[in-house]
Symmetry: C2
Subunit: 125 residues, 2 copies
């Protein structure tokens, strides 16, 4: 059965969605996922505080990403690119990637993942 996840007044909070908080201060909000019965696709919102970044990782699954507030530098392999609201990013299979917040306000982006994916490998250092 389909489902609506309503955003509260501002970016960063949805009805009936409990975010997962990371030690870095980042948050992941699963807006579409297994709890909804999704077997193919997940849609997650990530909130990255000022000075923070997503995990640097690579994995076989692709991502489609869109920035919804704030600004970022996205690392894809050995390159970094500035991105802002409405910019879309494709991360190919097994590409190393990271989104780093820049500027004065928290970064928010949405990011797809396959519902049946393997867990990511996170290189250290």
């Amino acid at each position: 059965m389909g489902r609506i996840r309503r955003r509260r007044a501002e970016w960063g909070s949805w009805e009936d969605v409990v975010p997962r908080a990371y030690a870095s201060g980042a948050e992941r909000h699963t807006l579409v996922g297994p709890e909804d019965g999704a077997a193919q696709v997940e849609l997650r919102y990530f909130r990255i505080p000022v000075g923070g970044a997503s995990a640097l990782e690579r994995h076989p699954h692709e991502h489609a990403i869109m920035v919804v507030h704030g600004e970022a530098e996205v690392r894809i392999g050995d390159e970094t690119h500035p991105v802002g609201v409405g910019d879309a990013v494709f991360i190919a299979s097994d590409e190393l990637h990271e989104l780093r917040q820049v500027g004065d306000e928290p970064l928010g982006f949405i990011c797809t993942a396959p519902a049946d994916r393997a867990r990511p490998e996170r290189p250290t250092g």
Copy 2:
């Protein structure tokens, strides 16, 4: 290889993305797709003019949707729900669905699809 698709100043136009225009006045902009080398996931932006709607359809693949501007009534099966900016919608496999623009401004939403999907069935009437 990963890729950035930069939005122009406002919602509705991205660098190097040629929209597909439908007879209804709606537009589809593929922001992540096979042209980028995406084999698993597509991310599309749909722009629906005042008074318009997306195609009423059902198909085996799921959708994850987020409204990025304007307001809509989303039909899921026999029910309709009002949605606005930041609201996420999950469409399950084989659920009949449609997004209808409401209010004074065009509707914009992003919508995932599997890159290897079968083409949708579109009921008439």
